[in-house]
């Protein structure tokens, strides 16, 4: 019988702790498959964040370092400077990358640090139980915006790819989603490109992946995917915000 699908060697044989319906699992698999397909698993070092994916170090089969909250890009910088021929990536959530770690994110991008950043944006703080994230949508109800996010009071959401696309050191800034098969295919291609860019020493590559949080959004998994499509994608349009191979500017994908 022909094998059409195999578990990637990029993941360990440890069950994920993620909630049912959470798309972290898909994103983990895509990252692991890309590294395996590029043949870099044995020289990859990943940096796990603080947030739901804090224990990502147990799931990826490559060497892993667990970072303080928001500091993953700084740790990746230290790793990359010490191991320039290895493949270094961070895996971060929205609170980690776009709130407490904004300085590390922006400056590693500005330096053109030759690393790959996987940014999982689910518009909420998952691990601590559903508080407002820097990417929480206007009007979105969370534990700390119980009447909906009032942007006049709580400020505006951060559009990470749009912001980083303005920096010279960035090789790739692309926003993708994993809410359906077509988008998952696009997401995988983007992640692979982000790793290839590093191998080819092109600079900082970030792939922002829109993700669901059924538990804290208070929705069943299928409805959560629908909520992502109806609310997140219009506010955070998918597409390539910067690709040094194709010149500047956004192409909707």
């Amino acid at each position: 019988m022909a094998v059409v699908f195999e578990r990637t060697k990029g993941l360990t044989d440890v069950p994920f702790h993620y909630c049912p319906g959470c798309t972290h699992g898909i994103i983990h698999r895509l990252v692991a498959e890309c590294m395996e397909e590029l043949g870099v698993l044995d020289k990859a070092v990943g940096v796990a964040p603080v947030g739901c994916s804090v224990m990502a170090y147990n799931y990826f089969s490559c060497d892993m370092v667990e970072a303080p909250h928001g500091r993953a890009p700084a740790i990746a910088t230290g790793l990359k400077r010490a191991l320039p021929d290895n493949v270094i990536f961070t895996y971060q959530g929205d609170g980690d990358l776009a709130a407490i770690g904004t300085a590390e994110t922006v400056h590693s991008a500005a330096r053109g640090e030759n690393i790959t950043v996987i940014f999982v944006n689910n518009a909420i703080y998952g691990m601590t139980g559903g508080q407002m994230a820097p990417t929480t949508l206007p009007g979105q109800v969370t534990q700390t915006t119980p009447y909906g996010r009032d942007i006049k009071y709580s400020g505006n959401p951060v559009h990470v790819c749009e912001m980083l696309a303005t920096l010279d050191g960035v090789a790739l800034a692309q926003r993708v989603s994993v809410d359906n098969n077509l988008n998952i295919t696009t997401a995988k291609a983007a992640i692979k490109k982000a790793f290839k860019n590093q191998i080819e020493k092109k600079g900082f590559s970030i792939v922002e992946v829109l993700s669901t949080c059924p538990t804290n959004w208070g929705l069943p998994p299928i409805e959560a995917l629908g909520w992502l499509r109806e609310n997140m994608i219009p506010f955070y349009p998918l597409g390539v915000y910067k690709d040094i191979d194709k010149g500047e500017g956004k192409e909707n994908g």
Binding site: M64, G78, A82
Partner: protein, 354 residues
Amino acid sequence: MSERVLMKGNEALAEAAIRAGCRHFFGYPITPQTELAAYMAKKMPKIGGTYLQAESEIAAINMVLGAASAGVRAMTSSSSPGISLKGEGISYIAGSDLPCLIINVQRGGPGLGGIQPSQADYWQATRALGHGDFQILVFAPATVQEMVDTVSDAFFLADTYRMPAMILADGMLGQMMEPVEFKDEEKPRTVDKPWATTGTGGKRKHNIVNSLYLQPDELEKTVVERFKRYELIKEKEVRVEQYMMDDAEFAVVAYGATARIAKSAVKAARDKGIKAGVIRPITLWPYPTKVINEAADKVKAFLCVEMSMGQMVDDVRLAVNGKKPVNFFGRTGGIIPTPVEVLGEIEKMAGGAK
């Protein structure tokens, strides 16, 4: 042996680190340690090393964490307010059992404080450099030469015990020039690091550098194991200088730049017929508790002198354990105690103890 050269403390620290095999420096400018970073910026590119100016002290210490994870000798340097920012990262580095070297060229605090020499970060270095149960190795050299000699030991012991090491200097030691000799080791002493995250190479299970243990029993176990290592360090790695202590009736306890002033004062006291000596802790953690406790059986009283409102004096009192009176004299805010002031305190102690 190489020739004697005249160097600023900050630059000498940098050169010593390079000679000890450090090729990865991450920092952020702050007075009065900036010459160290500037020296690294000049030298590192010429020897294939990394000098990277981070966007913040927080980023710098985490770059150190990353480089240390990769198994290389990594360091950062700063001064008091910057060290506070590094506190988070230092806790994580300790909790991840990573070695590194941190230099603190202390200045007056709290807050932005001042830029003149101070020793007001003693508690921070020995008690509370970040959250959680942990210690770091803390060295307190008193001359530019001793700073140079300490760097290689600090890296080696940090590697050996898998923990951060700090050299606690101050603005005076960092800014002053003194003659130094670099004792050229044939090759820096190194320690195998099979735990480093350098890529599995397809030859081993993945290495994980981590400080997270969600199960309390597991976390307790890792902390207790670490503290067993600390006990070993307390037994083996204490360093202390005793100056004119053989027949001393009065002991002045001081470290770093202040110990130099204490020595001048003790000499002057001897000229006046007061048998005084100096106990100079060279390691502040582990602390020379035993030496001080034993001295308490011989001397009549102690005087602790610091450039602070009295921080190390806690450790002196703990060591003396009530056997003899412990006096304190300190100047703070960037004021350096004078030998005349310290002599006055010694005379007071000698008079009061009669």
